[in-house]
Subunit: 277 residues, 3 copies
Amino acid sequence: MTISSADLAGSLDALRTRVPLVHSLTNIVSANFLTNVLLAAGASNAHIDNAHEAGDFARIAGGVLVNLGTPDDGTATAFTVAAEAARDAGTPWVLDPVGVGGLGWRSGLAVDLLKYRPTAIRGNASEIIALAGLGGDTRGVDSSDDPAAAVPAAVALLEHSDAVSASGPVDHLVGRDADGTVVGLRIGGGSAMLPRVTSTGCSLGGLVAAYLAVAPTPLIGLAAAHAHVAVAAEIAEANSSGPGSFAVAYLDALYTVDAAALADRAIVETFDVTVGA
Amino acid sequence: MTISSADLAGSLDALRTRVPLVHSLTNIVSANFLTNVLLAAGASNAHIDNAHEAGDFARIAGGVLVNLGTPDDGTATAFTVAAEAARDAGTPWVLDPVGVGGLGWRSGLAVDLLKYRPTAIRGNASEIIALAGLGGDTRGVDSSDDPAAAVPAAVALLEHSDAVSASGPVDHLVGRDADGTVVGLRIGGGSAMLPRVTSTGCSLGGLVAAYLAVAPTPLIGLAAAHAHVAVAAEIAEANSSGPGSFAVAYLDALYTVDAAALADRAIVETFDVTVGA
Amino acid sequence: MTISSADLAGSLDALRTRVPLVHSLTNIVSANFLTNVLLAAGASNAHIDNAHEAGDFARIAGGVLVNLGTPDDGTATAFTVAAEAARDAGTPWVLDPVGVGGLGWRSGLAVDLLKYRPTAIRGNASEIIALAGLGGDTRGVDSSDDPAAAVPAAVALLEHSDAVSASGPVDHLVGRDADGTVVGLRIGGGSAMLPRVTSTGCSLGGLVAAYLAVAPTPLIGLAAAHAHVAVAAEIAEANSSGPGSFAVAYLDALYTVDAAALADRAIVETFDVTVGA
């Protein structure tokens, strides 16, 4: 098996032990919730999106998140500064191409950022398809496409990144195995309440940055973040009666899930990936 | 009766069926909560406040919210771009004149935005009075005036908009009936906890934008949004023990209230409006 | 005793009676939670961080908070405008030097702001040490230093301010007594959950601004804000099962704690301060 339960458990233990510091450049909708997700899960976060400081901080952070949710001219410059510094310093970084496809200006920003080789890319299906230049139907920041339909696009993006995920009802991840083979992972579980709470996707991107700082490979880090979220969401759904109480229970569950629970409850399946001729 | 229970119920059903996509340009205090309110109620939201993209998105959104809570030079330009595009494309849009009256720069912005004819205007009493140029005592972003006192100002603003509300302990709305007559509506219920949780007013503005996308007239859309909030707040107050748990229960209640409950519990009264000579 | 229980109780009563209006210039991570903390505690808040309006509003507000969490070129200008106006108008204001020390640009901003003589300074231990020019090990926005170690730095900062706190597991405060003597206060209680929820520190800074508007001396206001938070956090920890439910219970507890409970439960100790030769 490509990714074992022990890989996931080991990554969560490493997260809790090392408490990686994430440097987030995220949007004004998600900034608070994303930080609470990281703190609850066991990491730390500093949101620094000015161009004066973003480079220096990306060099010392454990992982960097660049999220295109609410860019302006100032933060767009900081995105580039942070991505370049992360690449140069060897800091793993995540690109979250929010709204790419439907919105022209940020689509150009996202394509430019690919040159700094994000360690991982996380988006919804429509965003991943659009970023790969394969079309996609982005409805604002929500997805009109199924994650399974985004697999060819995710594979195409491996030209620019080590691991790519299309999140959704069943998350689809692709990346390179320890021996360099491209493999696919489906991560089940989760909750239908997740899209009823804003920033659950954006904060997953932040959690990927945290796991990249401690996991043995980008694909394992990407998978551990998605599995941690999926298991916590399942627990939260069982302890809530609407989106308000779900969000509260979700933060509690991200905090209380331990390595044993993650290994026991995570639903991860491998699938074969055809890499283009 | 000007607005029937069936009008409210039909609007909520339409919201849940059609899931309108709101384009919000709101402030950094309310961005997260407003999006959660829209998702809980049954709509969708994308916050896009840069001038590069705000026009294109306002053309395709179901409704647009322009909220003056925390403007800067960049977002102020985006407000104008979005409002002009909404008017030109026929997208209904809402102006929320946060802090107008007490704060000079934004008061000028608000007056300029009136030329793009907002479909609806929602504010607290002081803001509505100030926007109409009739005085008003704005205490920061809170109101020092009673909504009933804002009715003449709300009527005056119908020169620039189809429907206007002054929110407060009892919301006062004015607008044109199906036959063009100007009518007034009082919406009761709600909770004294609403002003103890930030962004309940701003997120109501966002919900108005969502309802305008699906309701048969602006006044019905405005009324349905206020009634949905008032009923949810009543339910939340009964299920909470302070402002923290109220906010959680409020999101749950926005989600669980259905058309039958809305029609049953909403407190809507008509009042006569005198339109100036 | 330097600060009595009656001083704390009287300050909370004054807060609830007078409902001071805080003018916050805070970061995008904390803006929502900080406002909810102020509303729950009994104050009011308006976040105004554009240079066009920040000066006028600082003149009429009850207290001003300048928080350096996510500065950009625009808000940095507004910080200076607000601080200068506050000093000139006699409005008490609080400097929260988030991230100072580890981040170069904002460290310069913070030093410049000292010239407008903040009424109080609140930071974590690392930030206080860094701001005093005495070193400090800032890890992003978290502290690597113990509050007790920051006391000499806090005393040094009394050259620029009336009262200074280093928050942490046990808060350490220094300031001038009614007769001008420099004294130290330790405030215990609190909860290990506080650092698991983002913006608990930033919102404490906002609460200090609210208390400065109503308390007889800056040191009493600073102490009352820290004690209110510590007592509410203790109550919240007993009513929660993780960081999500803690944040909710914390807002409820800030609201329900009254003057008698604050006087009864607050843990405040005086300590001697050596002021340099």
